[in-house]
């Protein structure tokens, strides 16, 4: 990954009449970086993308793509976009649709065949898009992202509604994009939707940026409790008295401890020797982590 800054967002602010919008968003994206943009529906992900791409004139702040203003011809040339749940015209074939995009982008026509092959649509290229599955349509959408080797790719919910195989294929394409030096910003409404292979995670909540960093950093900063599950050899009462938590089925005890106390707790458990027959450590799941950042107290129930 190089250190060249592709996208620069500084104090971006936009308010809709309905009250929603973006509040003071700042971040950067570097060449070859894969960034997951997370948040609930309505948190501002699509709004942010549209502001970056120049489709939405925003109230305040600065956005630049390779030093160009969003929506300018140079910025548009450097940017590729995959809208949420895009459905191309059902009467066109995949090849015809991609040819149109190639002509609009000024990309060589020879790249069309190569790209269709790259996204695995070579066989279906001359079928009507109306006959495509959702995964195939998304792959066609990804093919147009590759046109003209963009510096920045904005993918809005690229994996929503895809089955695991199709999702895996799509991440392979995202990796290929990043490898050619494209900065990839991928929106999603759940951390579990996003492959763990992203370099950075940005979380939006009600239009505000509430987290920005590598997954490990976010996990550390959240300091979410780690859960232990102990299986007692005879009676769980001893374990329950010692660690508290909850008793399950009489023979098991489950309790939580702060991450910094993890090793100390493990030592204590080991010292109990034969009283414990089995031990499971349950780190916070991606879902727990996402909820920690994305959900404020008012909306969590």
């Amino acid at each position: 990954m190089s250190t060249e800054t592709i996208l620069n967002v500084l104090n971006l602010q936009h308010r809709f009449r309905t009250g929603a919008g973006l509040e003071d968003i700042s971040f950067q994206a570097r060449a070859g970086e894969r960034i997951a943009l997370l948040g609930h529906n309505g948190a501002g992900k699509s709004t942010l993308m549209k502001a970056v791409i120049g489709l939405l004139p925003f109230d305040r702040g600065e956005v630049s793509v390779c030093g160009h203003a969003p929506g300018s011809a140079s910025a548009r040339k450097a940017t590729a976009y995959l809208p949420e749940a895009v459905a191309f015209h059902p009467k066109l074939t995949g090849r015809e649709q991609l040819k149109l995009f190639a002509r609009l982008a000024g990309a060589p026509r020879t790249s069309v065949g190569e790209l269709l092959e790259k996204v695995g649509l070579a066989k279906a290229a001359d079928q009507r898009i109306g006959t495509y599955s959702k995964g195939m349509r998304q792959r066609l959408g990804m093919a147009q992202v590759f046109l003209g080797r963009p510096k920045l790719a904005l993918l809005d919910e690229p994996t929503s509604g895809l089955d695991p195989v199709a999702r895996h294929d799509l991440y392979a394409l995202v990796d290929a994009l990043a490898e050619q030096g494209t900065a990839v910003l991928m929106a999603s409404h759940a951390l579990t939707e996003i492959d763990a292979q992203t370099d950075r995670v940005i979380i939006l909540r009600s239009g505000m940026l509430v987290a920005d960093g590598a997954l490990e950093t976010l996990t550390r900063n959240a300091a979410m409790p780690i859960r232990f599950r102990l299986q007692a050899r005879d009676d769980a009462a001893v374990l329950f008295e010692r660690f508290g938590g909850q008793r399950i089925n009489g023979a098991r005890v489950e309790f939580a401890c702060p991450p910094e106390a993890k090793m100390a707790t493990l030592g204590e458990i080991a010292a109990l020797g034969d009283a414990v027959s089995d031990l499971e450590i349950l780190p916070p799941t991606l879902d727990d982590l996402y909820r920690f950042y994305a959900q404020d107290e008012e909306t969590s129930r």
Partner: protein
């Protein structure tokens, strides 16, 4: 320009695959043929050839049908792309909105022109085969075809404006239907009411002809009947055509498509996808 042509080629392909050109052509041809054959028994009574009478009936038909066809063709041009999510994508390409709109316009106008030329032209072929044409009546058929294309161009532009304003294709369809009703049907009814109420006064003699020419649908009527004296006779619009300077109807037919396209462009330019 290559971008506009790329859009036009794609849009025309879609038009063809939707069988739009075929359906519009057949529809116009069926009407043109039935009107021509219905006039076959009357042409001697008016003392004009069959094609003259046929063009007069087809003009009335074109005034209603061409705007409807054009609105149907274009109402989802922008709203449809927006609904599919393809509009936002198209607009991220290095291409102006005017180019996108112009490309669609080229394709739709080409489709409409083919349908009008073939559909209405068949009346000329039939009359010629029956030996009931003249240079005059063939000229008025050509004028009708050209005028219909211009009228179609205006209503295509109008449909883009409607489409650019609408958030869904259903809303666009509703608004297009309303426009058709107001501009093609109600406008004439209101003018008719005013003329009857005025009873041959200043309004009827000096204002009414201009109001008629100001509406492109009525301008087509006017322009079509000024072609030949026989035409004015067959349609009974001699009075109005004499009240206006030459070329007013044609000017209306030429200006409205350009003005309409400009309007659609300015509406589309403001849309946030």
């Amino acid at each position: 320009m290559t971008q506009a042509l790329a859009i036009a080629a794609t849009e025309f392909r879609i038009l063809r695959r939707n069988r739009w050109v075929l359906i519009a052509t057949v529809l116009l041809a069926v009407f043109a043929l039935s009107l021509t054959l219905a006039g076959a028994s009357n042409s001697d009574a008016f003392g004009v050839d069959l094609l003259t009478l046929s063009v007069a009936s087809m003009t009335t038909l074109a005034v209603y049908l061409i705007p409807l066809l054009a609105l149907l063709m274009g109402f989802d041009a922008i709203a449809g792309d927006a609904e599919r999510g393809a509009l936002a994508l198209l607009l991220t390409y290095p291409m102006s909105r005017g180019t996108l709109l112009f490309g669609k316009f080229l394709a739709h106008l080409a489709g409409l022109s083919i349908a009008i030329t073939l559909g209405l032209g068949i009346a000329g072929v039939v009359c010629w085969a029956m030996g009931s044409v003249s240079v005059e009546s063939l000229t008025s058929l050509a004028r009708l075809i050209a005028g219909s294309i211009l009228l179609g161009a205006f209503f295509l532009a109008l449909s883009y404006g409607v489409s650019a304003l609408s958030t869904s294709t259903a809303a666009a369809a509703g608004m297009a239907a309303l426009l058709w009703l107001v501009l093609v049907v109600l406008y004439d009814l209101m003018l008719l009411g005013a003329v009857v109420w005025d009873d041959g006064g200043t309004f009827s003699r000096h204002v009414f002809p201009w109001l008629l020419a100001a509406n492109p649908a009525d301008a087509l009527r006017l322009w079509s009947v000024t072609a030949a004296p026989g035409q004015a006779l067959a349609t009974g619009m001699t009075g109005v055509t004499h009240a206006l300077p030459n070329g007013v109807a044609l000017a209306s037919l030429l200006i409205w498509p350009i003005a309409g396209f400009g309007l659609a462009w300015s509406v589309f330019a403001r849309r946030i996808p």
